[in-house]
């Protein structure tokens, strides 16, 4: 009887333990090694900017990015500048010297430019990005009485080290967006609006959208002609 109990206990033990063990092994395999250790590569990017969008929607932007690698490993990566139109001009200066810009994509709907950045352990670099571009309204849901615009940071930083494929980058934005006209229905995310000026302070992300009012003259003229025609027809039929 005792023997029977022992055998049953062993079988039950194996039945319970084996899937638990398998789950533990699988979890270990699947776990993504997220580095919480301060000694690993860590990138901090302080981004200050000044954006001016004039009455004709020509945007002139100046971004200054201070990147600090506070980790013990050197990192390789790039600064990517993403836009939704083709810029009139773009210039990137890295530590006082003009950098070679790699054009990733260039079209009227998407333009991407990249500058490669390598950083030693515990070092910092300064990148200045200046560009001028026509600010385009959203191409879908186009209102005839108002065009919708939005703005968020075009800067993206991506780094990797010999230890990690992806090194986390902490962003900190600070700057101003000056609009050359009175925006309507402005919606600010992580920013403050004061009249035509939008201020971003100590934020890792920001997003603004607004509308610019307009009058649909061309479509309106045809509509007025249609109304005149209908009224004329009604008056004529009444007689």
């Amino acid at each position: 009887m005792n023997c029977y109990k022992i055998v049953t206990s062993i079988i039950l033990f194996l039945v319970i333990v084996s899937p638990v063990y398998a789950q533990v092994v699988m979890d270990e395999d699947m776990a993504i090694p997220i580095s919480m250790d301060d000694e690993n590569a860590q990138i901090n990017a302080d981004i200050s900017f000044k954006v001016e969008i004039d009455e004709t929607n020509m945007e002139t932007s100046e971004y200054s990015i201070n990147i600090l690698n506070s980790g013990n490993y050197s990192v390789k990566g790039y600064v990517e500048i993403y836009m939704v139109f083709i810029p009139k001009r773009i210039k990137v200066i890295v530590d006082g010297e003009e950098a070679d810009i790699i054009t990733q994509e260039k079209s009227y709907t998407n333009s991407r430019y990249r500058v490669n950045i390598d950083m030693d352990a515990d070092s910092n670099r300064t990148i200045d990005v200046t560009y001028q571009i026509l600010k385009t309204p959203r191409q879908w849901n186009v209102g005839l009485w108002a065009l919708q615009y939005n703005y968020n940071s075009p800067i993206n930083l991506q780094f990797s080290s010999k230890k990690e494929d992806y090194v986390r980058t902490n962003f900190n934005y600070e700057g101003k967006i000056d609009l050359g006209y009175e925006p309507s229905k402005l919606n600010c995310n992580n920013c403050i609006q004061d009249g035509n000026t939008i201020t971003v302070n100590d934020s890792d992300y920001f997003y603004v959208n607004w509308e610019k009012k307009r009058v649909p003259y061309r479509a309106g003229v045809l509509y007025i002609f249609m109304i005149i025609g209908i009224v004329y027809y009604l008056v004529k039929m009444r007689k």
Partner: protein, 215 residues
């Protein structure tokens, strides 16, 4: 009889037959009322996007004009005295298959749904008018003069085909209703002429749209 007078006679006969054709009038009235409704709701921003934009068959304008007017919207912001020039978007998203499909399916749909007592024909004619009216407002507003003129011209030729095809559909529907009532199936012989005219206009439209939009 000279060639000139022959042409005059043909045009006069066509005009007279159009004036007498009640089905053509019904189709035209439906289309124009729907067009006015579509234009009204677009011009007051009641809708900010194309109506029925996903259904290419009953949506003749937006897809064709979109890349052009998109350039127009972009350039909307540009200062008049500015010397900056951006090339207009030149790639057309449409091809010969798109053009053929839209024209042929539209005509076949409007004619063939006439057998369902003409009700779907009337609905589709209304939707074509509604979507065309809603689209032409934004094309007029944002596209350049040449593109707008081209679009209006192509819309007009498309509308002619739609009205003719819809009139055939409605006539077929009414013939079936009459047949159900009186047990006599009668169709005016003019319907065959109209069908030939529809085929000719659809072919011409395909050629025109291919030349003006795709090439």
């Amino acid at each position: 009889m000279s060639f000139k007078s022959k042409i005059k006679n043909i045009v006069k006969n066509c005009t007279d037959s159009v004036k007498e054709d009640k089905y053509l009038k019904i189709a035209l009235i439906i289309l124009l009322f729907a067009f006015f409704l579509g234009y009204s709701i677009r011009v007051f921003d009641f809708t900010k996007s194309p109506i029925m934009g996903e259904i290419g068959v009953i949506y003749p304008i937006h897809q064709e004009a979109f890349p052009y007017y998109m350039g127009g919207v972009s350039l909307e912001s540009r200062s008049m005295d500015s010397s900056i020039s951006y090339d207009r978007i030149s790639e057309s998203p449409i091809d010969i298959l798109y053009v053929m499909r839209n024209n042929v399916i539209s005509a076949v749909l409007l004619v063939s749904t006439g057998v369902l007592l003409g009700i779907p024909t009337v609905v589709f004619t209304f939707l074509v008018g509604l979507s065309a009216g809603a689209s032409i407002a934004e094309v007029l507003e944002f596209a350049g003069l040449i593109v707008a003129a081209k679009t209006i011209f192509l819309l007009t030729t498309y509308m002619i085909a739609v009205v003719l095809a819809a009139s055939i559909g409605i006539e077929m529907g009414s013939a079936i209703i009459r047949y159900l009532k009186t047990n006599i199936f009668e169709i005016d012989k003019k319907i065959y002429d109209k069908a030939i005219v529809v085929i000719i206009i659809v072919v011409i439209n395909i050629i025109l749209q291919y030349v003006l939009l795709v090439m």
